[in-house]
């Protein structure tokens, strides 16, 4: 008996392991895998939560691609937002962390100040920006006026709503900055000292040492902010009262999906939309992963 028990220790430990991750397994099945399967199946139906669920083949997808102008508008708006916000926040965060990554007085205080806006979110922040961007008496246009610039109508002008949201996004650049700062502080000082003796200036050191050394974090940041950027919703919902106006300029993909799912209760249609988004995000992530070896530098990776 004793020998048998000993022999079984590995299996017993294995069982304990499954017990540890059991909450996740249940959660994964109930809140992720199950819903995914249901959603995929329902995207081929006219499901509306209450009464009907008839199989209608690819109709939802066909209608999206051929007959729904708002679908294309929402996709365009979202791409616009991602295309500008991701590079700008990434570049901003890298530059900021490079400035902070020096022995200068007040560095910790600066870090705190730059990071603070990044932890703030929710309706309070959106209301604040609606006030800041008020065309007449808001802070942004007031400051622009000091320099003789007549500020745009921001959230009231369809041309300027998305730049306004990107502007707001840049306020929270501190989150990414901390990520890069942590990575930069891990770079050996001797690399910089050697470069200095060789006469490399600050810019050369930044582009030849700092940037290559932090490429793994840049990669991580780009992948996650791409996924996040495609899902912009709350700010557009609050700032346009759920409508996506003016002239649908803030009708982002998720907002349109929300309207279809929870206002029109055209669930099958909304789920088809969600799968198209999934495919887009998935494809972009795969492209990122494929491109990574070409530019991401892993220490000890042999390249």
């Amino acid at each position: 008996m004793a020998g048998k028990r000993r022999f079984n220790y590995k299996t017993k430990e294995g069982l304990q392991g499954y017990l540890f991750i059991l909450p996740w397994i249940i959660g994964f099945i109930v809140f992720t895998a199950g819903p995914l399967l249901f959603s995929f199946a329902a995207s081929f139906t006219n499901y509306n939560v209450t009464s009907q669920m008839d199989f209608i083949g690819l109709s939802n997808y066909e209608k999206l691609f051929s007959g729904d102008q708002l679908f294309w508008t929402s996709l365009y708006n979202t791409l616009y937002y991602v295309l500008f916000s991701v590079p700008l926040t990434t570049a901003g965060a890298i530059l900021l962390s490079a400035l902070l990554n020096r022995d200068i007085p007040g560095m910790r205080l600066f870090r705190t100040i730059y990071y603070l806006p990044a932890v703030l979110s929710g309706v309070g922040v959106y209301l604040l920006w609606m006030q800041l961007l008020e065309p007449g008496t808001g802070m942004v246009n007031t400051v622009l006026a000091w320099f003789g610039i007549q500020g745009p109508n921001w959230l009231f002008d369809p041309e300027w709503t998305k730049p306004a949201l990107i502007f707001m996004k840049l306020w929270s650049v501190g989150g990414g900055m901390l990520l890069y700062l942590a990575s930069m502080q891990g770079i050996s000082k001797s690399l910089y000292e050697a470069a200095e003796i060789d006469g490399a200036n600050a810019w050369q050191q930044f582009t030849r040492i700092t940037i290559p050394m932090i490429t793994p974090v840049i990669f991580f940041d780009i992948v996650t902010s791409l996924i996040g950027g495609f899902q912009i919703f709350q700010e557009a919902y609050v700032m346009s009262n759920g409508e996506g106006g003016p002239v649908n300029s803030m009708l982002f993909y998720n907002l349109y999906m929300w309207q279809k799912a929870f206002e029109a209760f055209d669930m099958g249609y909304a789920m088809a939309m969600s799968w198209i988004l999934f495919v887009i995000v998935f494809a972009l992530t795969i492209v990122n992963l494929k491109l990574a070896p070409k530019w991401v530098h892993y220490e000890g990776g042999g390249k």
Binding site: I21, L116, V119, T137, F230, F262
Partner: protein, 298 residues
């Protein structure tokens, strides 16, 4: 080394290089430019918060005055009392705290438990399952949100807090990842020694794992608090009854009532943001630690 040669040289021939041509000189000059840039940027970053405070204490008449000012004529702190009384913010606060506390408890304990399993208990398929955990982070939220809504509707959970709280007790990929990273830094010998003494993994998790990972748990607690406190989408979708409104929903409704009364709106916004700001100043190191864990450091 550089210093020494520079100090040794002057006796022979005093080099007539200007201060800025030396390495240290260049470094100092750069630091000054740096400092000025950072200081200017800091003012830019803080100005929205200052503007919020200033607007919140102005009279409505002053808010509408052009050009607006960065210093109010008078500090009308009574705006805050008026705001607090204009909507049931005390009820919203209690509701939000209820949800937030439950979510934090669930997130801290359950994710720590799961993460311990992934980090310290060997079992078949562990790496494959952990890969699935990570890959779920890639799924856009709305893909599961809509069918989850259907599920909760069928369970008769609409207009309750269950959809907001229960999922927090079944682990979240991001927090599992964060805590597992931290567990990986704890030497296996410690666990092995306890196992030799005959301790089960559950005992080890409770008595060794939890205490040793306190800093990481603080990070998870703070991130979860922040997430639950600021969650707008969840309550918007699942809560209709005004008695169940959270601060975020309340603020959105308040915005509709006040339309352009920016002094009250800014007072309300600041009140809702204040707990997070206070938390940030006290526990900044845990916020930063969370970021460092993400980037693969400790």
């Amino acid at each position: 080394m550089v210093k020494q040669t520079a100090a040794a040289r002057p006796k022979l021939s005093k080099p007539k290089v200007s201060h800025f041509e030396t390495i240290q000189g260049r470094r100092q000059a750069l630091n000054v430019i740096n400092w000025v840039l950072l200081a200017a940027g800091s003012i830019l970053m803080l100005s929205p918060l200052w503007w919020m405070l200033v607007t919140s204490v102005k009279t409505m008449q002053e808010v509408m005055t052009y050009p607006p000012t960065f210093w109010p004529e008078s500090w009308n702190w009574s705006n805050y009392m008026k705001t607090w009384e204009a909507a049931p913010f005390d009820l919203y606060t209690v509701n939000t705290l209820t949800i937030t506390i439950l979510v934090v408890i669930g997130n801290v304990f359950v994710n720590s438990f799961i993460a311990y399993g992934f980090a310290k208990v060997p079992f078949k398929g562990r790496n494959a399952l952990f890969a699935i955990v990570l890959s779920t982070m890639m799924i856009p939220g709305f893909v599961t949100l809509i069918p989850q809504y259907v599920l909760f509707a069928k369970l008769q959970w609409l207009n309750t807090y269950y959809p907001l709280v229960i999922p927090a007790f079944f682990g979240s990929a991001f927090n599992i990842f964060l805590l597992r990273q931290f567990y990986m830094t704890i030497p296996d010998e410690l666990i092995e020694a306890a196992k030799m003494e005959g301790a089960s993994h559950f005992w080890i998790w409770w008595k060794i794992g939890l205490p040793l990972t306190k800093p990481a748990l603080a990070t998870v607690a703070i991130f979860s608090f922040n997430g639950a406190w600021n969650d707008f989408l969840g309550p918007l979708l699942y809560v209709n009854d005004e008695n169940l409104y959270t601060l975020q929903l309340g603020l959105q409704v308040f915005k509709g009532q006040m339309s352009t009364q920016w002094n009250y709106l800014m007072a309300g916004s600041l009140l809702v943001l204040l707990p997070v700001i206070i938390l940030f100043f006290f526990f900044q190191k845990y916020f930063i630690q969370g970021i460092n864990l993400q980037s693969g450091g400790k």
